[in-house]
Point group: C2
Chain length 253, copies 2
């Protein structure tokens, strides 16, 4: 059996996230059905993370096993003919048998987009967090810096999935304003459920003056979810970079 | 009665163009209904042009008459609470009684976006013309330049609306590539029905080698629609600039 990694982009607006669910349209299910039509057998996709409903991906990796003989470089074109407009496969790669889109992934980056303008933009609907009150990006950056490092991130996750440990390492959390758009880029070795969105919500909370950036260390230490900021809405969140290294293969996309 | 000019942006994907029609959802109708709820009387909107179904506006001007006393600078906020996410009023201005959004407009610019890549992008659906075969922007620019000047544009319009004359002046028609995106900017004193999209289709036709840019002068002279290129799809077209000057008021947006 071949093990194939697919590189995707998707607009998550119409989907209940990545993960296959009963009675809900998900990216994984849509991709599995499209792939089955191409390879002529049932497939199971392993994704690089459980993006939530409405969250987008500029880069996403999934792998599946197949007995088909379609050349790897033709697979994206064949799959795209079967996929809806909001999901695109832009590359495919043969990977070793033990490669696993989530297990082999050592680092991920999410980018969050806030549209900070008095008036909303009709081309940004479901693609940004529209925030009409002015946000000081310097205070947000100060707050963001407090998350960098290895910490217990229980204070910025939603309960919902069982994890052995809530300790993660955040490599960077940068805040950059370009005109009315504020980009928040978070890179970590892993993300707890809603962690990226709660970190964004906490940076906004700091800009609103509801907490001081200095309090973030204590909030993380205490692990109290209600002390941190709210979970930012899903439409502003994009998976943007992935790093793989499992001893047999290493790449960055 | 006050005469008020509204400055809009809209994502035209969900609309059957600007103009009010029976049994079809249009931007004008949606705006008239939203405005009526705010000013508490029926209103008629005069738009700056009849954009087609699926065409967008980064800038659009419409004017209406009202007896309401809402301060002009509050009107955008009041209207936006009544408008769907894909239509936004970003400014409002009191104008003299004879001002007319179409009659006072002396120049318009449309920008057309082509996404020229092997693989489509899920964030560009209905917002670009996805064109997978490589296009040479230099040939397109050569073709585009042939349209500049005062000509009879009957060869690049669709029959459908009665006009006194098919002579227009094109001030510029520029082609610029930025990575996989090609921007075509057309500025004229007026546009015939489908003229911008047929001009774009003709520039693409030239890049495909189906006509030589040198033939465009003759095609315009002969006024034969079938000799020019096809009408480019609506999703790539955006109204982007407007110039007003009616002797009493002059502005550019």
């Amino acid at each position: 059996m071949r093990n194939i990694a697919l590189f995707l982009k998707y607009n998550g607006t119409a989907y209940h996230g990545w993960q296959v669910q009963k009675n809900a349209c998900t990216v994984a299910q849509t991709l599995e059905e499209a792939t089955a039509r191409v390879v002529k057998h049932k497939v199971h996709m392993t994704g690089c993370g459980r993006t939530d409903a409405g969250v987008h991906a500029r880069v996403y990796v999934a792998n599946f096993r197949t007995s088909c003989t379609i050349p790897t470089d033709r697979l994206p074109y064949a799959l795209n003919t079967q996929l809806p407009d909001d999901i695109v496969v832009f590359n495919a790669m043969d990977v070793h048998d033990d490669f696993n889109a989530i297990g082999s992934c050592v680092r991920k980056e999410y980018t969050y987009q806030i549209y900070n303008s008095h008036i909303r933009d009709p081309f940004y609907t479901d693609r940004v967090w529209f925030y009409p009150k002015h946000l000081d990006e310097k205070i947000m950056a100060e707050a963001a810096a407090r998350f960098v490092g290895t910490h217990d991130f229980a204070a910025v996750r939603s309960v919902g999935t069982d994890v052995k440990s809530t300790v993660r390492t955040v490599y960077h959390f940068d805040v950059e304003r370009q005109g009315d758009l504020i980009y928040l880029r978070i890179c970590a070795n892993g993300f707890l459920y809603n962690m990226a969105r709660a970190m964004v919500g906490t940076a906004v909370y700091a800009a609103e003056g509801k907490i001081s950036p200095k309090e973030i260390g204590r909030i993380l230490d205490e692990g109290n979810r209600t002390a941190a900021g709210p979970t930012a809405p899903p439409g502003g969140l994009y998976m943007t970079q992935l790093w793989y290294d499992d001893g047999k293969i290493a790449f960055h996309v």
